[in-house]
């Protein structure tokens, strides 16, 4: 089969989405589409055309054991740190499982940023935000009774010209709260409305998402989560 001719690719994408391809053709087509954006776009266009037809299928309430099964499986993967993961949650759990050396480096970097110096017993908050690869990318820190949240990138950031990186507080309950934008330079101080201890009370984690330039238009994250990390309270 020649996938290079656009009309052929489009006809195959249609068969793929309709579902009439054989197992072997499906597997091969899936593989090709992964490497070929034009093919992937043709599949998407056919999904947009055909899948709304599924709306008329009568809904059937699934047995409750499916949900409990899903919960059990995502809890298990969240707890099993150390292997490659792709989600924000996974990044958080991975971060926890990082080798001590990586952890120590990140904390050391965080501490260097702290002001006042360490000999004064300032209660501080430190967040090391890591990407999917579990490598620390950003460190956020604040004195608990201060109103400045200091962000510093420890790896290069490249959000792209028409995109912004936005920092979010992820409260234990309720919606993510926007904290501010992180410039491409990766260095910024964000002024908090109240002291950091209060602002980040009941906030177990921070995350950075990729948003349209200027930040999310909706007040909630709209793009993928690039980095996340748990809020650590140091004394």
């Amino acid at each position: 089969m020649n996938y290079r001719r656009p009309e052929r690719a489009d006809a195959l994408a249609a068969q793929y989405v309709l579902g009439t391809m054989s197992a072997r053709a499906r597997a091969r087509f899936t593989r090709l589409a992964r490497a070929d954006p034009a093919l992937a776009a043709a599949i998407r266009a056919w999904e947009d055309r055909l899948l709304p037809l599924a709306d008329s299928v009568p809904p059937v309430e699934p047995p409750e054991k499916i949900w409990t099964g899903i919960l059990a499986r995502i809890d298990r993967t969240a707890a099993a740190a150390g292997s490659q993961r792709r989600t924000a949650w996974a990044a958080v759990s991975l971060w926890r499982g990082l080798a001590l050396t990586g952890f120590a480096t990140a904390i050391a970097l965080a501490l260097v940023l702290l002001s006042p110096p360490l000999e004064r017993p300032a209660a501080t908050l430190v967040v090391v935000l890591a990407g999917q690869d579990a490598k620390p990318a950003l460190v956020a820190s604040a004195e608990r009774n201060g109103r400045l949240l200091t962000i510093k990138a420890v790896a290069p950031l490249s959000p792209g010209a028409d995109r912004s990186l936005q920092l979010w507080a992820l409260p234990a309950a309720g919606n993510p709260r926007p904290l501010g934008l992180v410039p491409a330079s990766g260095v910024v101080q964000i002024a908090l409305p109240v002291d950091a201890g209060t602002a980040l009370q009941n906030v177990p984690a921070l995350a950075v998402s990729l948003e349209p330039r200027g930040g999310s238009p909706t007040g909630l994250p709209t793009g993928p989560v690039l980095y996340s990390g748990p809020v650590e309270r140091l004394y």
């Binding site: 309709l18 599924a54 059937v60 099964g69 993961r85 989600t87 949650w89």
Partner: protein, 196 residues
């Protein structure tokens, strides 16, 4: 704008928000997403797989997958329900086709036989699925054979050879019904400015 269209927009916005929060590991949002969409998705899986154990397994795998990949959903590219439906249908079809290879055609006959018992019939679904103006017009404009073949393939997951057996037509005829039917649907839908 009709009440239905307004409700659908609102539902879409809600699903997008839930997906965004799921990407941030918000389990409560994920559960709401599941509650809002799983009856529909389970219905789709049941019709294709015709077996509740298999449909349950696919639904469960699909949502575990959604939990891990919610961040890869791009709002500008498709409706949230379209995205979720594609995940579930692809798993169903992979499973069904793999099964075809394993058991060759022994239960092809059964497969085709059970179709007649299912209500509503695929063709009725195709026509009622096309409620939104232009889609319905485009589906209705297809020839009878094209409509029937596309409905059976889409809703029941029948392969070309299963279609040929079920419709008692030569394989070549069935293939050309499908191909021409899809071409006409595309021209009609894209002309109506609906598809993209």
């Amino acid at each position: 704008m009709s009440v239905d269209a307004a409700q659908q927009l609102e539902r879409n916005a809600r699903l997008m928000e839930l997906l965004a929060r799921t990407a941030l590991a918000d389990q409560a949002a994920f559960e709401q997403l599941y509650r809002m969409t799983s009856p529909h998705l389970y219905g789709v899986a049941l019709r294709i797989l015709r077996e509740s154990a298999a449909a349950e397994e696919v639904l469960q795998e699909s949502f575990v997958n959604v939990w891990h990949h919610a961040g890869s959903y791009v709002a500008a590219r498709s409706q949230p329900l379209t995205w979720l439906t594609s995940i579930v249908r692809n798993r169903c079809l992979d499973r069904l086709r793999k099964h075809d290879v394993d058991t060759v055609s022994i239960d092809d006959e059964d497969h085709a036989m059970t179709i007649a018992d299912r209500n509503p019939l695929p063709l009725d679904l195709l026509l009622s699925g096309a409620e939104a103006g232009a889609v319905r017009r485009c589906v209705e404009a297809l020839d009878a054979g094209q409509k029937q073949a596309i409905a059976l393939a889409f809703y029941q997951g029948l392969s070309h050879s299963e279609l040929a057996r079920h419709l008692k037509q030569p394989l070549g005829t069935v293939k050309s019904w499908i191909r021409r039917g899809l071409e006409r649907l595309k021209t009609c839908l894209d002309g109506a400015g609906l598809a993209r």
